[in-house]
């Protein structure tokens, strides 16, 4: 009986557990303990570090509740951060040997925001090394931690680089998690694990303290149990931050309150880009998009096919730009100031070579080499410049369709989770998995993946909604409406 009750608490959504805390029907200490026990018992490897201070922080939160001065509506709710988000005094590794012992003396802006809201940090979550994914074949030996398993079915991948947040939310060991979304990993992992993954638009959330992967594409992501939870978290972490030069100064709406009102699907114009509905997208996934389209139409929305003609080029352009920026960002790891340094060396060049050879995994090295070629004088003109032009064309595509439609509906991934035993024949095949997500990343648009049923193998299907720049408010409202239609809420 007690176990069932504990299980019940763990499976509640963030909004629900927040209410219980507000009504004093549970305590932060109680739920933190339940979740920590679940982490200990889980074999999914979602966590790479648990916070030793979590229970202490939970007790302090409970005292705030008793004193009638909680820091926010979700003061005391346990959550977790992917291991590329810095927390002062807490090891931050990016799942790389290079940062095995790295303890940042500063916290990411989002980590501060959560702390100020009284959120209890349960620990750090697993990821692919430096958010490079998907891995090709066998995981490199250098990778620090065991692979994360998909809580839905351990025989299938939980998604590529942002596996930890999706797995933690899916296995009910965190009410929500923050990670990062570069080319779509947070959305893809959410889709594969049957949870919700939100990539806010460019500038909406400060990236200060998020370890760089590809600077112009990096974005803090929110993984949650439903759209309302994501809305609540976004309200906490969005807003101007002088430490991120890209942070926008727009006012932050109260996303949760706006979402709780009736969603006016009736007045909504929804476009379904045909480029995301081609043969490379699984039949059952396309069917799922069509079912939701029909349901939305029934609810009064106008749903039409539209076109993003440069989608084909977007995947290549994304690879080129992401690798170039990645390779550049990795230059700071030289063994001089922080991170790993090889044990013995002759001189600086020797130290540099050995340090980087020993501490980076194969996938990271492959991406760095590719990126370095892209940035060479030859590669820059042949690849980087055309990729930047494609990026502009991709933005223009969106601008055009958003002249006609409020929101776009698409699959999140062309496939559901693939078996962990799958070997990609080459990097290009692996990259094709990003077909539906990279364009929004390139254009800096907000996008969200929501679960919408399962395929015949019982694996979750994720559907994606993409909105124009800084339209998170509407995007979340429509996501909420879509959840209802998918029978989730």
């Amino acid at each position: 009986m007690q176990a069932a009750q504990e299980q019940g608490l763990a499976t509640l959504s963030l909004v629900q557990i927040g209410k219980l805390l507000q009504n004093r029907e549970t305590t932060s200490s109680e739920i933190a303990e339940i979740l920590l026990d679940r982490i200990g018992a889980s074999g999914n490897n979602a966590y790479v570090l648990t916070n030793e201070q979590a229970l202490k922080a939970a007790a302090i939160s409970d005292n705030r509740r008793i004193a009638g001065s909680p820091l926010s509506g979700i003061d005391g709710v346990p959550a977790a951060l992917m291991d590329n988000i810095c927390v002062e005094g807490m090891r931050t590794t990016c799942a790389s040997r290079m940062l095995e012992g790295f303890v940042p003396p500063y916290s990411a802006a989002v980590a501060e925001s959560l702390e100020q809201a009284g959120v209890i940090l349960l620990g750090k979550l697993n990821m692919e090394e430096f958010a490079v994914g998907p891995t090709l074949g066998e995981r490199a030996e250098n990778t620090l931690f065991a692979t994360t398993k998909n809580p839905v079915d351990a025989a299938y991948t939980p998604g590529s680089s942002s596996a930890g947040p999706a797995a933690a939310v899916a296995e009910d060991t965190a009410y929500f998690a923050l990670g990062s979304d570069v080319g779509g990993s947070a959305r893809q992992s959410a889709a594969f694990c049957g949870v919700v993954g939100l990539r806010p638009g460019f500038g909406r959330v400060s990236r200060y303290g998020l370890v760089q992967c590809a600077s112009s594409l990096d974005q803090i992501s929110i993984t949650g149990k439903d759209a309302a939870d994501c809305a609540l978290v976004l309200s906490l972490i969005a807003g101007y931050d002088a430490r991120d030069p890209a942070a926008c100064k727009d006012r932050t709406p109260d996303y949760l309150r706006n979402l709780m009102g009736a969603v006016r699907l009736k007045e909504l114009r929804i476009g379904v880009p045909k480029e995301y509905m081609g043969q490379e997208v699984g039949e059952e996934i396309r069917q799922s998009v069509k079912s939701l389209s029909a349901a939305m139409q029934e609810a009064g929305a106008v749903v039409e096919e539209c076109s993003l003609p440069h989608t084909d080029y977007a995947v290549s352009a994304y690879q080129v730009i992401a690798a170039a920026e990645f390779s550049s960002n990795m230059n700071r790891y030289d063994g001089v100031k922080f991170g790993y340094r090889t044990a013995s060396y002759e001189n600086y060049d020797d130290m540099l070579r050995k340090t980087r050879t020993e501490a980076f995994g194969e996938d990271v090295k492959r991406k760095m080499l590719f990126g370095a070629y892209i940035l060479s004088q030859e590669g820059f003109n042949a690849w980087f410049k055309p990729a930047q032009r494609v990026r502009t064309l991709v933005r223009d595509d969106f601008q055009r369709v958003f002249g006609k439609y409020d929101i776009l509906l698409a699959p999140t991934s062309p496939v559901t989770a693939w078996p962990v035993s799958k070997q990609f024949s080459d990097p290009a095949e692996a990259c094709a998995m990003d077909l539906c997500t990279v364009s929004a990343s390139l254009a800096g648009l907000p996008a969200i993946s929501i679960p919408c049923g399962n395929d015949s193998a019982g694996l979750p299907i994720g559907l994606q909604l993409i909105g124009p720049a800084l339209s998170e408010d509407l995007l979340l409202q429509v996501a909420r409406g879509a959840e209802e239609l998918c029978g989730l809420v």
């Binding site: 940062l99 600077s215 550049s328 922080f338 820059f380």
Partner: protein, 477 residues
């Protein structure tokens, strides 16, 4: 066969007079304990982002306007990659394709000849840190790391070591006048790379070498002269020159090859994705233009035309903006300009040097200099008393006192009373019969010794003109 013609271009790096670094709030103060002016940002720690200090852009625009450049309304920053222990991020944020300033020029003067040196571009970038080599170890000090720099790139319009010197000197003045850099070369705040090749007139340029990091005007001149000789010798002996990077050893007075460049260097440049493009409005440019002081060259012209000063005087007065300003403040009151100039070029510069003070630290102003010059020109005090007053003006106890007050306090008014001077002259002639006899015997220059004695007896207060005249009268009776 005609002689080889040197073709020289300079890249000058100037540390900007901004109080904080280019992408974070850390201090740019010189010195300080190692690694105390640092933060996660200027250490390039993961997750930190560069926040452009707008003051750096402003100072670059200022330099550009003072050097007759065009200002890009939209410029961009780029990453330049290389590994070095003093470069924390493994790349330097610089500017490649779209610098803040482009297409300018600087006029230099050499032996009375004016020459226009074209400036290709001025861009902003971040400085690297410093390596400290010790026994068996090398440490890195990042106090200066990520301080804002401008790089001023000339066209290859210079044709000899003296022009290199004149260009650097003139450029230094411009940067000092505009307050863009303090140009303290001993602190590395102004340094240059020299590119040199040789050719025969009308023929293509020869193989070019680059000498790095010359940090004094005289080192730049000596290094250029040495490299021209070295290249000439190799070519005349029928040898082959290689494109190379050289280091100048100022103590030994010779250079050596750091590395031979076989290929164009690969820096993997690409547009910096973390900082937004730099947008500079015409309005902002005009505001900065309006804040520019009159440049040294214009001042020299004005000194010649308005105050009738010589080229030499105008040159010395404008070496320092503070002294030139001092002169202007004094001369604009109507005080005699030549006397004002003489005080600056003589006593004031000498006393500044003796006391180890910068011109900016001068303890009195233009009004005081004007008063002093007027006291001398009206004969109220002698010029030697003027020197004394200047010296007293430097003393802290006299802070706030005017020259007139000091003259009174010290009783330095010139004695122009005929009777008093005549008495002193008689005494001196009496006491120095031999000198008087010499004069009378035809050695007219002997009189100066007697004038000196009278001045001494009067403690410098006697009017020297009158002394001379009265002595002549008395001796020739």
């Amino acid at each position: 066969m005609s002689t080889y013609q040197p073709v020289i271009g300079l890249e000058v790096h100037a540390e900007l007079a901004a109080e904080s670094k280019i992408y974070c709030g850390c201090s740019t103060a010189f010195g300080g304990e190692e690694n105390t002016h640092i933060c996660p940002g200027c250490l390039g720690m993961p997750g930190t982002l560069p926040l452009l200090n707008r003051k750096v852009v402003e100072l670059c625009v200022k330099a550009g306007l003072a050097l007759n450049c065009k200002i890009n309304p939209y410029s961009r920053q780029d990453r330049k990659h290389y590994f070095y222990p003093d470069l924390p991020k493994g790349f330097q944020i610089s500017q490649l394709e779209l610098p803040v300033c482009y297409d300018g020029y600087l006029d230099i003067e050499l032996a009375g000849q004016r020459k226009r040196i074209r400036i290709n571009r001025i861009h902003i970038e971040e400085d690297a840190g410093k390596l400290i080599h010790g026994a068996g170890e090398t440490r890195v000090d990042l106090n200066r790391g990520a301080a804002g720099l401008i790089e001023i790139v000339s066209e290859p319009d210079l044709s000899g070591p003296d022009e290199v010197y004149a260009y650097m000197e003139t450029l230094r003045q411009v940067l000092l006048y505009t307050g863009v850099s303090n140009c303290k070369m001993e602190e590395g705040a102004l340094r240059c790379d020299i590119n040199i090749s040789l050719h025969h007139e009308g023929e293509p340029f020869g193989v070019r070498t680059e000498m790095k990091n010359l940090n004094s005007l005289s080192a730049a001149r000596a290094a250029a002269a040495y490299e021209i000789k070295r290249q000439t010798r190799i070519l005349e002996e029928g040898g082959e020159l290689f494109q190379a990077t050289l280091r100048w050893d100022d103590d030994k007075g010779e250079n050596y090859v750091m590395r031979v460049k076989e290929h164009a260097e690969e820096y993997y440049y690409f547009p910096e994705p973390d900082v937004m493009p730099i947008v500079i409005s015409q309005e902002e440019v005009e505001t900065i233009r309006a804040s520019l002081p009159e440049m040294p060259e214009a001042r020299r012209r004005r000194y010649r035309e308005q105050y009738n000063l010589s080229d030499y005087d105008a040159g010395i007065l404008t070496v320092s903006k503070a002294l030139s300003d001092l002169f202007d403040r004094a001369a604009e009151t109507g005080a005699p300009p030549k006397i004002c100039a003489n005080f600056i070029m003589g006593d004031i510069i000498r006393l500044l040097n003796e006391k180890g003070l910068e011109a900016e630290q001068l303890p009195f102003g233009g009004a005081d200099l004007a008063e002093l010059a007027t006291l001398v020109s009206t004969g109220a005090i002698s010029s030697s008393a003027g020197s004394k007053v200047t010296e007293l003006l430097f003393q802290p106890v006299n802070a706030g006192k005017s020259p007139g007050e000091i003259v009174k306090e010290q009783n330095l008014e010139q004695v122009s009373d005929d009777t008093a001077i005549r008495d002193m002259c008689r005494d001196v002639i009496e006491q120095n019969p031999k000198i008087a006899a010499d004069y009378r015997g035809g050695k007219k220059q002997a009189i100066s010794a007697l004038v000196g004695q009278v001045m001494k007896a009067s403690q410098g207060k006697a009017n020297p003109g009158m002394v001379n005249q009265i002595l002549q009268e008395l001796l020739e009776v």
